[in-house]
Symmetry: C2
Subunit: 361 residues, 2 copies
C-alpha cells in the first residue's frame, strides 16, 4: 500500500501540530477498509472530528447522514469529482444523502464580475447537477440552495441568533455582508439534515479540506447552542488534489491547472502532456535514478481517479525504478481520461432536462 | 376637521426639520380623501416617500402593491390595529396585499428570555393571524416569514450582497448578528412584492412610523443596486398611538399602557378608567377651563379607533368646553371598546384552525 501512497505515513506527521492545535484526530487507517473506495484505500482521508460515531453507526447497521456541498460558480473539474467520489463511497456505506448544490453561496461569495446574479449561479448549477448525476448521484441525493424546503431557510435565518459578531470575527477575521449570508447558509447546510423535517437527529458527517476547518468549528459552535437536539456535526478531512502545474492548486480560474469534466479528450490530453512530472532531465538520467513520484502530477491524477489498484501499483513501481518514462505514464493517463471524459459527457448530456428541473423546480 | 385632530396643522411643523434631514415629504391633506378611512381623515398619516406614485396609480386605475409587517413576539394591542386598519384602507383603494407575519423577525430580534425559539414566535404568529383575520384581512393577504415561497428566501439571501458592512453600520450603528438576519428579511419583505414570482414590478408602499425610517432608507439603498428592475419602494409615515399612561409608549412589555385585542371588556374598562386624561383637578375647574384634549389618552383611543366622526367631534367639543367630564368620556370608551373586544374575540376564536394552517402550512 505504501507504494501507491506518495504521501506515505511520514508525510502525515507534518500535520501533527495542525491537528493538535485545532483538535483534529488522525484518520486511523483501519477505517479505510469500511469504504469500498480507492480514495479511502489510497489514504486520501487524513483526519476527522467525531468520525468514530459514523463508524459505530455503520458497525451497528444504524442510519447516519452525510452532507457535502460545492458552490456553483463555474464548471466542475476533477478536483470536484474527488468530493463526489468520497460522497458516493459513504452512500454505499449506508449514509442518508444530502448533496448541496450551493448556488446562493456561489453568488454571494464570488465577486460580481464573476457571478453577477443568482441566475448566473443557477446556470452553473444546472451544469453541475448534470455532472453529479453522470457521476452516479441520484436526484433524491441532491438539493439546490435556492430551491429547497422552507424549513431549511427558516433554520438558516434562525442560526444567526446563535453566533455573536465577536465569535464570527474571531473565526474569520473581517468579512463582507455577502459572506456572512453565505456562511449562515453553509451552517444550515451542515446542520439541517438532523432536523425533524429532514433525516432527524443522527450522526451527520461532512467531508472537507483542512482549509475549510473554520466552517467546521463555527458549525460545531452553533450546534452546541441550538435548542433543537442534534448531534455535533462530524467531519472528515481529505487531501485536495493539486493542480497540473508545479506547486499550483487546481483552480477553475486558471484553466491550465485543472481538467474540467467538460474538457474534450483532446484538450485534456494537451493539459496532461504539459503537466509537471517527476521525470528526470534526460532518458539516461531517468533510467538511472528513477522518476520522483512524490512531485508527479500525472501520477497524482491517476492516484485520485484511476480505479485500478494493480495498474497504479505497477506504474508507481516502474516509474520509480526508471523503467517507465513520463511520456509513457502520460499516455496511460491520456487514454484513460480521454475515454472517461467522453463517456461522462455523454451521460451528462442525457441529464439536461432532469438537471433543469432539480435546479429551477 | 381641526377639531378632531389634536395634533393640528401646527404640530406637524415640528417635524419639518426631521422631514428635511431625511428627505421625507409632508403628506398632503388632499390625498386623505382618496382613502375611505377615519385614520386618513384624521391626519394620522403625516409624511411619505414617493407616495405620489401610488396616488397616480390609483388615479389611473392601475395596480399597485403594499407590504406591511408586524413581528410576532407577543399579543397584538390596539396600536397594532392601526397598522392593520391603514393596510385595509389601501386594500380598499385597490392595493395588491402582502401582510407579513414576521415570526422569524420576532425570534431573531427579541432576546431569548422573551422568545426562546422560533416555535415560540410561531405560537404568537397563530394568535396574531387570528386577530388579522378577525380585523378583516383575508388569508390570501397574509404570508408568514417562516412559511413562504423559496423565491422569497433566495431573494433575502441575495440582498446581503447588495449592502456593505460600512453602509449597514452607518445606518444602524453596531448590530448583533441576529438583527442583521432580521433586517435582511425585512428588506426582502419590502422589496419582494415586485419580483416576477409575486406581483411584478409596480409601485409598492409600506406604512411605518418615523422611527423605522432607517429600514426605509436601507431598503431604498439596496433597491438601487438590484439587477432585477424594480421601483424604489414607497413609504408613508403614520403617527403611533401613544400609551394610556402619561408620556408612555404603547408597549406589549408594559401591559398597563396598552389595551390588547385579547383583553376582556372588564380588563379594558379598568385600563381606560386609569388612563391619563386632560381633565382638570376639580369638576368646577373643568367646567370653567375645559379639558385639555391634546394630552388626553382616552380621546386618543377614540380618535384612532372609533369609527363615528360625528360622535368624536361632539366629544371633542364638549370635553374642550368643559361640558363633558373625563369620567363621561371614559364611559363612552369603555362601552365602545367593551362591545368591540367581545365581538372581535368571538371572530378571532372562529379563525383558530385557519390561522394554524396559515402559520404552520
Amino acid at each position: 500500500m505504501a507504494v501507491i501512497d506518495p504521501w506515505g505515513a511520514g508525510a502525515i506527521t507534518n500535520y501533527d501540530h495542525v491537528f493538535k492545535e485545532f483538535g483534529l484526530k488522525p484518520f486511523p487507517s483501519e477505517w479505510n477498509a469500511r469504504f469500498k473506495s480507492p480514495l479511502f484505500r489510497r489514504n486520501v482521508v487524513i483526519a476527522h472530528r467525531d468520525f468514530d460515531k459514523v463508524i459505530a453507526r455503520i458497525g451497528a447497521k444504524k442510519p447516519f447522514a452525510q452532507l457535502t456541498g460545492i458552490a456553483s460558480s463555474g464548471p466542475y473539474h476533477l478536483g470536484h469529482k474527488v468530493d463526489v467520489d468520497l460522497f458516493l463511497a459513504l452512500k454505499k456505506a449506508g449514509a442518508k444523502c444530502f448533496f448541496c448544490v450551493a448556488d446562493l453561496d456561489g453568488y454571494l461569495s464570488r465577486p460580481d464580475e464573476k457571478i453577477p446574479s443568482l441566475a448566473t449561479a443557477q446556470k452553473w448549477a444546472i451544469e453541475n447537477v448534470k455532472d453529479l448525476l453522470a457521476l452516479g448521484l441520484e436526484p433524491s441525493d441532491i438539493y439546490v440552495q435556492s430551491n429547497y424546503k422552507k424549513e431549511y431557510y427558516a433554520f438558516a435565518f434562525s442560526l444567526s441568533k446563535k453566533m455573536t459578531m465577536n465569535t464570527f470575527e474571531g473565526i474569520y477575521g473581517h468579512l463582507d455582508m455577502g459572506k456572512i449570508g453565505a456562511n449562515f447558509l453553509q451552517y444550515a447546510d451542515i446542520l439541517h439534515p438532523q432536523l425533524p423535517a429532514f433525516a432527524g437527529k443522527m450522526p451527520c458527517v461532512t467531508g472537507i479540506g483542512l482549509d475549510q476547518d473554520p466552517h467546521a468549528r463555527a458549525a460545531r459552535d452553533i450546534a452546541k447552542r441550538l435548542d433543537v437536539g442534534i448531534e455535533l456535526p462530524a467531519f472528515f478531512y481529505f487531501r485536495h488534489q493539486s493542480g497540473l502545474k508545479e506547486g499550483a492548486k487546481m483552480s477553475a480560474s486558471e484553466p491550465d491547472t485543472a481538467i474540467f469534466l467538460s474538457d474534450s479528450p483532446e484538450a485534456a490530453a494537451k493539459k496532461i502532456s504539459r503537466a509537471f512530472t517527476g521525470g528526470r532531465n534526460t532518458v539516461d538520467e531517468h533510467r538511472k535514478l528513477g522518476g520522483d513520484l512524490s512531485v508527479d502530477k500525472v501520477y497524482e491524477l491517476l492516484l485520485f481517479h484511476h480505479p485500478d489498484d494493480k495498474l497504479l501499483e505497477s506504474v508507481a513501481k516502474d516509474f520509480s525504478s526508471g523503467q517507465m518514462l513520463s511520456s509513457e505514464m502520460k499516455k496511460i493517463a491520456q487514454d484513460y481520461f480521454g475515454a472517461w471524459l467522453k463517456e461522462h459527457q455523454k451521460k451528462a448530456r442525457s441529464f439536461e432536462s432532469q438537471a433543469k428541473k432539480i435546479v429551477l423546480g
